[in-house]
């Protein structure tokens, strides 16, 4: 019964799947759709700003668009795409058959999806939130934002936050507990390492945001006074809670990209990662410091010289581990045999553009200098260099790298390179001029700007760049279509890479590993190439590493059962969320559904049926 489930491809099999690879595909498809939607929103913003004093968008619509653009990119495009890679790659890299909690994994996906759909339900209803993704109080309280728009923001982020925390929990346990025999921490691939760090970040960063959102919801709905200056509260507290979460969130988005690049650069340089332990620990350090720098988003609030000096200093410290990573990547390439496949181009593109974003970051780590930069287009330039030049390039890098593994088909190199160069040019054409427009006096979140401020040319160039961005998706989509129609077969290890996911067929069988591999070194697939003198202590020179997985499992494999209950649970939470807009009855009904789903889940046998 369950055996057929594992192989069937009907709609029911997708609704009940607990296979991390299928969940990864769903995360990817939905995240990519949201990326496109948010990209269109960004394109509309650029159209409005192409020239001064345009009236293409009215101010309310503009404010809604930039709110939706930011919120969607961070929570419904960036994070799910990151999690898609966690899902697909991590179990394969550590030699596991699935994640630690397959049903919880499905649940995470469904609540994320429902959170996104709920947010976008505000579009046809024409009540999109308009307080910015940062939603500063008191502008977002019931007095200044009376409609339901902000409630859509609050509730959708609350529900999708539940999915994020569940996902963080899942991957933390998966990586700590599900590693193949011999896969010690210091033998884990870098992407897995960064996934581990990011999981911990998610677990620690989301609760403060959840609490802030609950305060906001209560202030709006139940008349509490968490951010009410008239009652003695300080609305700045919202900013603290938001950025205590918001800054680690930046690292949640960037560290996985660092991890991807740290796996890709060695592969296409044919050289093991330079300074592996240093790269790992610099990632840990970045994550740790990430909790101590949130005030650098608030230097203009007026918290006093001591607070600003402390947080400015802490922020500068982050430049050190970040720089270490960049130098180690360059050192990895140094002396290598560089193959400029598309994935490698995106990896190198990341190193170049992230450096620019990092350096402008250093510029506003200095609180006085930041007073001229914060809330201007200079900052917009900075974080787009970081989030596109870093996160998005990293994700594309991973996409081109693991696509053959996931689908069994090769992508076309020419189209891939066209995609890279178009997006690389677009990034720089769109966002480089914003450094100038920002410093010359253009604040963020303004739907228009006056003539005569000298900002016209920069904005026009930025808008032109945005068009190139849109164009850059043409070769990507073309490439996907082409791969689907007539992509060449990928084989087990098309890039001659060094980690475990390349030991099996592409796409991997649903049980991943016919035989759980034993690992006795880093880069196990390369050990014949690694000269004895560069082997590390503990590496056995003649150690046996399975080069290729057998066709069929020699012993029966027990796989987790598919289940409807994660979906039911998520539906229950969605109903509660919708009820949060003002229907207590619906909330209670949703609670009931959630409870039913939870009990049924708890008493359903997770394993047993699916023997392969």
């Amino acid at each position: 019964m369950a055996m057929t489930d594992a192989h069937s491809t009907g709609i029911g099999s997708w609704l009940t799947t607990v296979d991390h690879k299928r969940i990864a595909i769903m995360y990817f498809v939905v995240g990519f759709a949201f990326l496109l939607i948010a990209g269109v929103e960004g394109q509309l913003i650029r159209l409005q700003l192409a020239a001064p004093e345009r009236s293409f968008l009215d101010p309310d619509l503009y404010n809604q668009l930039f709110t939706m653009h930011g919120t969607t990119m961070v929570f419904f495009a960036g994070m799910p795409l990151v999690v898609a890679f966690f899902n697909f790659v991590v179990p394969l890299q550590i030699g596991a058959r699935d994640v630690a909690f397959p049903r919880l994994n499905a649940f995470s996906f469904w609540v994320f999806l429902f959170g996104g759909l709920f947010l976008y339900a505000s579009v046809p209803l024409r009540v999109m939130p308009d307080g910015g993704w940062f939603a500063y109080m008191p502008l977002t309280n019931a007095e200044y934002s009376p409609g339901p728009g902000i409630d859509f923001y609050v509730l959708s982020l609350l529900i999708s936050g539940v999915g994020s925390i569940a996902g963080g929990l899942n991957f933390l346990v998966t990586i700590l507990n599900m590693r193949a025999p011999g896969m010690t921490f210091m033998r884990m691939p870098l992407f897995t390492w960064m996934a581990l760090i990011v999981s911990a970040l998610i677990l620690l960063a989301f609760p403060p945001f959840t609490v802030g959102l609950i305060f906001m919801l209560f202030d709006r709905r139940f008349g509490t006074h968490f951010f009410d200056a008239a009652a003695g509260a300080d609305p700045v507290l919202w900013q603290h809670l938001f950025w205590v979460f918001g800054h680690p969130e930046v690292y949640i988005l960037i560290l996985p990209a660092f991890g991807i690049v740290s796996d890709v650069i060695p592969t296409f340089s044919r050289k093991i990662l330079f300074g592996y332990p240093v790269v790992v620990f610099s990632g840990v350090l970045i994550a740790f410091l990430g909790f101590g720098v949130w005030v650098h988003h608030m230097f203009s609030v007026g918290l006093g010289p001591v607070v600003n000096a402390v947080f400015g200093g802490a922020t500068m410290l982050i430049a050190i581990p970040t720089g270490i990573k960049i130098f180690n990547w360059i050192a990895t390439m140094w002396g290598g045999r560089l193959r400029f496949r598309t994935a490698m181009l995106f990896a190198v593109g990341l190193v170049a553009t992230f450096t620019i974003g990092g350096l402008s970051g250093v510029m506003h780590s200095s609180p006085p200098a930041d007073l001229q930069q914060t809330d201007t287009y200079f900052v917009v330039a900075h974080f787009h260099y970081v989030l596109i030049g870093g996160t998005v390039f990293g994700l594309f890098c991973g996409f081109y790298y693991w696509f053959p593994k996931a689908t069994g088909r090769m992508l076309h190199e020419g189209l891939g390179k066209a995609h890279f160069w178009l997006s690389f040019i677009a990034l720089n054409v769109t966002f480089f001029p914003m450094h100038f427009s920002g410093l010359l006096g253009m604040p963020r979140r303004t739907y228009t700007y006056a003539e005569g401020l000298g900002l016209d040319v920069f904005n026009l160039i930025s808008t032109a760049g945005a068009f190139i961005f849109t164009l850059s998706f043409v070769p990507l989509v073309w490439n996907l279509w082409r791969a689907w129609r007539r992509g060449e077969a990928a084989g087990h290890n098309p890039w001659d890479a060094s980690t475990l996911e390349w030991t099996m067929a592409s796409p991997p069988p649903h049980y991943n590993f016919a035989e759980i591999p034993a690992v006795d070194r880093r880069d196990p697939l390369w050990h014949p190439y690694i000269e004895p003198e560069s082997r590390r202590e503990g590496d056995e020179p003649g150690g046996v590493v399975p080069r290729q997985q057998p066709e069929e499992p020699p012993e029966p494999v027990v796989m987790p059962n598919p289940s409807y209950w994660p979906l039911v649970l998520a539906v229950g939470m969605l109903l509660m969320t919708i009820g949060g807009l003002g229907s207590l009855g619906l909330t209670l009904f949703g609670l009931l559904v959630t409870a039913v789903g939870l009990f049924a889940w708890a008493f359903e046998p997770p394993f047993g049926g699916g023997v392969h």
């Binding site: 058959r97 699935d98 630690a100 909690f101 925390i165 963080g168 929990l169 899942n170 933390l172 346990v173 700590l176 507990n177 599900m178 590693r179 896969m183 677990l203 620690l204 960063a205 989301f206 609760p207 403060p208 959840t210 609490v211 802030g212 609950i214 305060f215 209560f218 139940f222 008349g223 509490t224 006074h225 968490f226 009410d228 008239a230 009652a231 003695g232 509260a233 300080d234 507290l237 809670l241 205590v244 027990v558 796989m559 987790p560 009990f599 708890a602 394993f607």
Partner: protein, 189 residues
């Protein structure tokens, strides 16, 4: 598939501890808010007008003792003593219920004394902080009750000791949080 794990710690137990780590941040943020706003309340009633320390000491004691019941239940199930398991699980849930009853009484009393949720800064921070804790206790009581039902049905024995242990971890954590709240809210007014 639940074979030996890399760390030797069962998956679910590791997950519960990680969740508890995450919950530290949740309560930490709530506590930080309460502490920041302490003494900033502008509208009466004020904390010292209402907080009844002898009463809350009693319910605190009850919750502390429920933690003892919980470890005894775990010890019982580990040695497959089902009678004791049922007894101690039942006692734990009962003590949890008594604590919740005390909290219900306290909230009700406050509202009657003119402190509904939306009254002032104190009511906002107090009710949301202690209410979040109370919701955790309520969830724990439901969880323990299902375990109790399983035990009565005879479906809970030493093989399920891990399940009881994980519920226990959650329960003790909720207790630990109350240890902090009791001191910070009631004794440091």
């Amino acid at each position: 598939m639940e074979g030996p794990t890399s760390t030797g710690i069962p998956n679910r137990k590791l997950a519960m501890w990680s969740f508890i780590g995450s919950e530290c941040m949740l309560f930490g943020t709530l506590i930080a808010t309460y502490m920041i706003y302490r003494g900033r309340n502008l509208v009466p009633p004020y904390p010292h007008d209402l907080l009844n320390i002898p009463f809350i000491t009693v319910t605190t004691f009850v919750l502390l003792m429920s933690s003892l019941m919980m470890v005894l239940a775990l010890a019982a199930v580990q040695r497959n003593d089902l009678r004791a398991t049922k007894l101690w699980l039942g006692m734990t849930a009962l003590f949890g219920l008594i604590f919740l009853g005390g909290q219900y009484y306290e909230f009700n009393h406050f509202v009657h004394e003119g402190l509904p949720l939306s009254r002032n800064l104190f009511s906002s921070t107090f009710f949301v902080l202690t209410g979040t804790h109370g919701a955790h206790v309520a969830g724990g009581v439901i969880w323990l009750s299902t375990l109790l039902v399983r035990a009565v049905q005879g479906k809970l024995d030493a093989r399920h000791a891990e399940t009881v242990e994980i519920a226990g971890l959650y329960w003790h954590f909720v207790d630990v949080v109350w240890i902090i709240l009791f001191t910070l809210i009631y004794l440091l007014v």
